[in-house]
């Protein structure tokens, strides 16, 4: 029940913001808010890994790219020439293919977004498992460098492989038909429904993660963060918990990649870059590491500002500066500074240290 009220509050805020943009005639903000929502999906997943399990990951843009690039590639690759191939014919009979016409009226026969997304997510699970098993044995610098290395490998592969569009990325990705009449796409007409789709997913993910951290798993993760050896000695299967959390966050990152790619109808190599991973880490750090709400709020605010171009050509510099400032002055995050706690105590009439 503890999680009910904030979730309802979030739901109310989401609806309120949408209404507000309608009244004030600024529905174009919804586009960035939708994108920020998908990024937040990744960020709260990363928050679970970094804040609760205490494992840094500098490679989450890699999982985002696995999701985004695979679904983009599979849904745009024209299979018309291979129509007579047994596998393609079989997929067609099973209803896994989708025919459509591109911008120039050419016929395209490609994989339907649903099976494509399934392939992308499954790949993310397999890769995160294969990477996670050895990587999560590492600590500190080695863990940071190994995850960074993984991220750069994905970036280089995407950048150097022709079917992933090399430096151009993949464009003209079709919409993702979720249900009849509801589809994730960048059409102007479906801006409002897409906003609700994205935030619906964020709310579901928040509900899931909040329940998770208040359960046995969450306590185990916090024990790992506090002192891994001690947790191990108390009978917590640290390796398994770390791995599962890592895979869960990779799946969330891949999901964000899949939907954001369908929403913005394309993906480019910068989405897989190191800077992108660093940016996610910065946002989790600002949110206060072990603070899902903080990560969500900061994820929306900073991504929204960045997507609106408020930082201009200093975009990366802003995130670098945020990262340094947070780590120097408030390693516990902005939303849980001692100052804030004191203000809260003052307002509720408690003495210092009573909380």
């Amino acid at each position: 029940m503890r999680t009910c009220l904030p979730i309802l509050l979030l739901l109310a805020t989401v609806v309120l913001v949408q209404q507000l943009t309608q009244w004030t005639g600024t529905p174009f903000y919804l586009t960035q808010l939708t994108m920020a929502g998908y990024y937040s999906l990744l960020i709260i997943g990363l928050c679970l890994v970094m804040g609760y399990a205490g494992q840094i990951s500098l490679g989450h843009a890699g999982f985002f790219a696995i999701g985004g690039y695979l679904s983009a590639m599979l849904t745009t690759r024209n299979l018309l020439a291979y129509q007579d191939h047994q596998l393609v014919a079989l997929a067609d009979r099973l209803g896994l293919l989708m025919g459509r016409h591109d911008f120039f009226g050419n016929e395209i026969l490609a994989l339907h977004p649903w099976p494509a997304a399934l392939v992308a997510i499954t790949t993310a699970i397999v890769v995160s498992f294969l990477i996670g098993v050895p990587v999560l044995k590492l600590k500190g610098h080695y863990l940071a460098m190994a995850t960074l290395g993984f991220g750069i490998i994905i970036y280089r592969l995407v950048l150097g492989t022709p079917i992933f569009g090399e430096a151009d990325g993949i464009s003209e990705v079709p919409g993702f038909p979720l249900l009849a009449g509801l589809s994730v796409s960048g059409d102007f007409g479906s801006r409002v429904s897409n906003y609700y789709i994205a935030w619906g997913m964020v709310i579901i993910a928040m509900l899931l993660l909040l329940n998770l951290i208040n359960s046995r798993v969450g306590r185990a993760l916090r024990a790992i963060h506090g002192a891994e050896d001690a947790a191990n000695a108390m009978g917590v299967d640290t390796a398994r918990y770390k791995l599962r959390t890592f895979i869960l966050s990779a799946v969330m990152a891949a999901l964000a990649g899949v939907f954001l790619t369908h929403y913005s109808a394309g993906i480019g190599p910068s989405e897989a870059g190191v800077m992108q991973s660093v940016r996610y880490v910065a946002i989790v750090a600002v949110g206060g590491m072990a603070n899902l709400w903080g990560a969500l709020i900061m994820g929306v605010v900073l991504n929204f500002m960045s997507l609106r171009g408020m930082f201009g050509s200093y975009d990366d510099a802003v995130f670098g500066a945020i990262l340094i400032a947070m780590m120097l002055f408030a390693p516990q995050g902005l939303l849980r500074l001692a100052l804030l706690a004191r203000i809260k105590n003052l307002l509720t009439g408690k003495k210092d240290g009573a909380a």
Binding site: P134, G140, Y142, F150, I152, A317, G320
Partner: protein, 296 residues
Amino acid sequence: MTAELFIQYLFAGVTYGIIYAIVAIGFNIIYNTTGIINFAQGEFVMLGGMIAITLNALLPLPLAIAGAVLLTMLVGAMVEMTFIRWLKSPSVLRMIIITIGVSILIREVALHIWGEGVRSLPYFVGNEISTVNILGARISPQVLWVIGVCSVIVIALSLFFRYTMQGQKMRACAANRTAATLCGINPKNMVTLSFMLSAGIGALAGCVMSPITYTEYDSGTGLAIKGFTVAILGGLGNSMAAVAAGLLLGLLEAFSVSIVPLAYQDVIALSILLLILFVRPHGLFGRKDAAGLKEF
């Protein structure tokens, strides 16, 4: 593969290998005195090259390089004094994030000062097409400059650590900080010195390699990754092993060009890095029990 081609690849490998080794030694110097990995190490190399190119417009080449090295050392000292010095026993996670932030800031400042363009210093001797004939292979004299200067750096550093007072003090701090403090050494100053030293050698390497590899605002990141791979490969903290590991990686990359597409070259180095981290995190030449005592 003909003998000439073999020698050509050999020189290419040694050139890149020794550059990686210099970056790795930069990592090691700071790691030894502080226990942190300075993710901004690659940016020092880039800064050295960029500053030298700018100064070279006004000054003759040797002076420009000397100026670039000194200025980069100053930047290194400033980075340490602003971001590292006053933190009390920070966690590794915190230090990693701070140095990553510093590397982003330096890179962005460089982007706004020098732009996105590719620049380079002039060749020290001759020009792009002048070559030296070694055993039938045609080698640019700049390659010999890179190998020569980097070798001198390695030798000078090992002499510095062995025979000078400052070097011995730094080694004392690396071995046991508390004991060094009791002997009247100020470990904080040693940390500043180690940042200056690794910034200086990084900058010098950045200057000599600039004519052949060119300098861009973001050329530091790739070098840092390679340097780190080499540092791990040799065993973190072990500078002499880093030279061997650097040459190994450089040669591996040079000879893999004939098999693997150039676009995937970084993937090789990184796969080696991951493999080493998974299988032998204490490095090829390190000892497991010794590594177990260190804090990563």
